[in-house]
């Protein structure tokens, strides 16, 4: 039993790291642009397929695919921003309409991946040597440990960026008060495009990690990750990047522990229950102090 719990904690931290990244990119996007990206999970899975294609056709190992994915997805996000968002902001209720629009983007992305890769589940047939490492009394796959290291590194880099650099501070300022930041002379359109590109790049990178951590993915896995991202974002407080990182780890632990203690069916409901519970009991999230309606 102790072994199971220990296993749950280690896996919870690893999975939670991935969830934290999924959540932090979505929360940045919401915070700066006030759009709800329903297609976020599809962007993540697109990252997994990106790594899959690089590995199977060009023999690029997943670790090398990380920076390539970051650059490619950053560019794609930048372009997508200018196609979608400027027109969207002209509608009556941009925040709610964004939900609907990205619903369409999500269907489009899933359909494209279905056309390109068919409905079969894919996995990257790549393994590190040794395949697993002994951590205390339990064995953990090397790929998962590598993924954990990378998530920690990315999170640290992101925190440094947000709190120590000027563009990062501008992003946080835009989340707090989008009107005031324009008075100070920040080009909000360029900053928003940057936020969209950054969030998309993070989603792509997370997708590569998903391919390392989870056994398989397919064209329709995106919705799962979108729901997970919503849970993490709401738990951490809408538009709060630090909260999202923390909430991701907490949710990862909760989910893995639930699979240890509860029957598998119940474990799936835990996530939804956390989401509904948070919105009703603590709508501003774990770290939130003041509730935004």
């Amino acid at each position: 039993m102790e072994l199971l719990i220990l296993n749950g904690i280690v896996n919870g931290l690893i999975v939670g790291g991935v969830y934290a990244l999924v959540g932090v990119s979505l929360t940045l996007l919401y915070g700066v642009l006030r759009v709800v990206n329903f297609a976020h999970g599809e962007f993540v899975i697109a990252g997994s397929f990106f790594a899959y294609v690089l590995f199977t056709s060009l023999n690029v190992p997943p670790l090398l695919a990380l920076p390539v994915a970051a650059v490619a997805f950053f560019a794609a996000g930048w372009g997508l921003y200018y196609v979608l968002i400027p027109r969207l902001s002209r509608s009556d209720d941009p925040e709610l309409m964004s939900f609907l629009m990205f619903y369409g983007v999500s269907i489009t992305a899933a359909a494209l991946m279905l056309l390109l890769f068919e409905a079969d589940s894919r996995s990257i047939d790549y393994s590190f040597t040794p395949i697993s490492v002994q951590v205390g009394p339990i064995y953990v796959s090397t790929a998962r440990l590598v993924a954990l290291t990378i998530t920690v590194a990315i999170s640290a880099a992101l925190a440094l960026f947000l709190f120590r650099t000027l563009p990062g501070k501008a992003l946080r300022a835009a989340i707090m008060n989008p009107e005031a930041i324009q008075i100070v002379g920040v080009d909000i359109v360029r900053l928003s495009a940057f936020a969209f590109a950054l969030a998309t790049a993070l989603a792509g990178v997370t997708g590569v990690l998903v391919a390392l951590v989870f056994p398989a993915f397919n064209a329709f896995s995106g919705t799962e990750y979108t729901i997970i991202a919503f849970i993490v974002v709401v738990l951490g407080g809408l538009g709060n990047p630090v909260g999202a990182l923390l909430a991701g780890v907490i949710f990862g632990l909760a989910e893995q522990m639930a699979t240890v203690f509860l029957p598998q069916a119940m474990a799936q409901i835990v996530g939804f229950a956390i989401l509904v519970g948070t919105i009703f009991l603590r709508p501003s999230g774990l770290l939130g102090t003041s509730a935004r309606k």
Binding site: S91, M101, G104, T108, I227, V276, I279, K293
Partner: protein, 320 residues
């Protein structure tokens, strides 16, 4: 009689003439489909989507909520009919009203979510639909049939279920037509636009919202039941498919939320388009649905009827 009330009277006359013409044409057309040997399946689903989109309109157009887990009501309705018919040996006609009741009960269970607004409501609704699907998936196999679902056996009767679907559609459209001119409908719209102001005017906001919500939940549940009877099989994968929510939302938005004719026109246009695309490029169906949604939000956010009314606001009095 003052001039303004006379103008109101003549506006009303045009309005009711339009209602009678559109309603009559729809009824005669659909009633003659099986008689003339037209495509029963196509028209069955056309009526189903008209009903779904119109009922969704009560929640989103009249009350201002966007339930992204709308499929929950449909799925519950489908399973209620299937379980009652299969396990309790109910005749189908007796089971269908229970589907509606199940939808109402679920609406009451979800009623606390009505105090949320905007995206919070949408996200919670999505999560609750997920919970419904998981709960039904994990119920004992003797009740819900597990992953194989429930087969209703030899009870299928396409033409009968076609006319039942038509009756459901007519009742739904009649209810919404009544709602759009009733005190309740006006109270709903007032609450949607400004809940505080509506409350000051004496509207019982929570009660009005609940009534709107229950109306929006009843019809998809009955639709689910009728569709279960029509296809003769129910399983969690199809009955709780998120595409059902997607299509409902897209059809309603395409026509224009907040008017009675909007969702009808939207459903007719999009189901027809969907069928055309499906026949030409079966593989691209999903892709085109997605692209169409994005294009709708970007270029026609108010829908067909909504955009026309924005150009010609003076028509607002005549158009149902």
């Amino acid at each position: 009689m003052t001039a303004s009330s006379r103008a109101q009277d003549s506006a009303d006359r045009i309005y009711f003439t339009l209602v009678a013409l559109i309603g009559g044409a729809l009824m005669i057309y659909f009633a003659s489909v099986p008689v003339l040997g037209l495509n029963v399946a196509f028209h069955f689903y056309l009526m189903l989507w008209i009903t779904m989109a119109s009922a969704f309109n009560v929640s989103s157009g009249f009350s201002g909520y966007l339930p992204f887990g709308y499929v929950a009501f449909y799925g519950i309705g489908a399973f209620t009919t299937a379980i009652l018919v299969k396990k309790a040996a109910f005749p189908v006609f007796l089971a269908l009203p229970f589907s509606g009741v199940a939808g109402l009960v679920l609406a009451l269970l979800f009623a606390p979510t009505l105090r949320l607004s905007g995206i919070y409501f949408g996200i919670v609704s999505l999560a609750l639909a997920g919970i419904c699907r998981l709960v039904i998936t994990n119920m004992p196999e003797e009740i819900t049939g597990g992953s194989f679902g429930l087969q209703l056996g030899s009870r299928a009767h396409p033409v009968q279920s076609f006319y039942v679907m038509m009756a459901v559609m007519v009742v739904a459209l009649g209810t919404i037509l009544w709602l759009s001119r009733s005190r309740l409908g006006k109270a709903l719209r007032a609450t949607r636009d400004d809940a505080d102001a509506a409350e000051m005017m004496g509207v019982n906001v929570p009660r009005v919202r609940l009534y709107g919500w229950m109306l929006a939940a009843f019809f998809p549940a009955v639709c689910g039941g009728v569709e279960a009877w029509y296809t003769n099989v129910v399983d969690t994968e199809t009955a709780f498919n998120t595409l059902i929510t997607a299509k409902t939302v897209i059809y309603a938005v395409a026509g224009g939320l907040g008017t009675v004719t909007g969702p009808i026109l939207g459903a007719v246009a999009m189901v027809w388009l969907d069928e055309l695309i499906w026949r030409q490029f079966p593989l691209l169906n999903l892709l085109i649905l997605g692209v169409a949604t994005v294009a709708l939000v970007l270029f026609l956010p108010r829908g067909i009827v909504g955009s026309i009314l924005r150009r010609k606001p003076q028509w607002r009095r005549f158009v149902p």
